[in-house]
């Protein structure tokens, strides 16, 4: 990891566990799994959409985490380091599994073609209280839309808006500048909004 990725990590919640790992790394494996299996599985599901692939991703991630644990140098939070490993495995796997070049999302794709297409009122899915619109159908619709995103946009959206990493942290995890993270995130959000909107328009 480069110097640019350094940041203070005084409050890493895993610090104690990592100290224990220095004397006996194998002894902390079960606890590491307990802490991160669910988060990583959900990350895998959002990225791959298929349980089998998500499971493979989690297993490969832990294998690498265990293998390189003594190489972890506190340049970043441990959690971010784990996601860095998971994200790079995931992107490599997905690249291998398809040959088509990745689609770029351009901004004008989401701009209304003419004045008339500009919405006049806030649509119901955005106007009603969140708990009234959030049902299983909408959840599925949203998950499907996330899976439609090209990988490089999807991974940013998942880290930022689902996993809750900051712009800075997402940049570290993905080796992207904060500006790049922001651009991809914004396009990903516009894409999702477009999908949600057409879903409600069709109703």
């Amino acid at each position: 990891m480069s110097e640019a990725n350094r940041c203070p990590t005084k409050s890493d919640p895993d610090a104690e566990l990592l100290r224990a790992a220095r004397s006996d790394p194998r002894a902390v494996f079960p606890e590491l799994v307990r802490r991160y299996e669910r988060a990583l599985y959900n990350f895998g599901m959002k990225m791959c959409g298929v349980a089998g692939d998500a499971e493979d991703l989690v297993q490969d991630t832990f294998l690498n985490v265990f293998r390189y644990l003594d190489g972890f140098r506190n340049e970043t939070k441990f959690k971010n380091w784990i996601y860095r490993i998971a994200a790079s495995i995931c992107i490599k796997k997905r690249r291998k599994s398809k040959y088509a070049p990745e689609r770029e999302l351009s901004l004008d794709e989401f701009l209304p073609a003419d004045e008339a297409a500009v919405e006049q009122a806030v649509p119901s899915w955005a106007a009603l209280p969140l708990d009234r619109v959030l049902n299983n159908e909408l959840r599925h619709r949203l998950e499907a839309a996330i899976l439609e995103l090209p990988d490089k946009y999807r991974v940013v959206l998942v880290l930022r808006d689902i996993e809750g990493f900051s712009t800075e942290e997402s940049g570290q995890i993905l080796n992207l500048t904060p500006a790049n993270v922001k651009v991809r995130l914004h396009r990903a959000r516009l894409f999702l909004r477009d999908r949600l909107k057409s879903y409600y328009d069709d109703e």
Binding site: R26, E55, Q59, R189, L196
Partner: protein, 67 residues
Amino acid sequence: MSEYLDNELDGSLCREIEAHLERCHACKVCMTTLQRTVALCRQAGKAQVPDSLSRRLRELIGTLAKP
């Protein structure tokens, strides 16, 4: 717009945008629907780890624990 929603803009720019949203209905609709999209993502459910995966991870740890 995303930077505004993420509180990543400085105060003066933020206030400029807010003033514009007050006056411009189209932008207001735009911002509201984008905000809702983000809110929906944040509500995405977390699945439980399936038994098959727990088993695989236990096996992985078992293999690595062998001297």
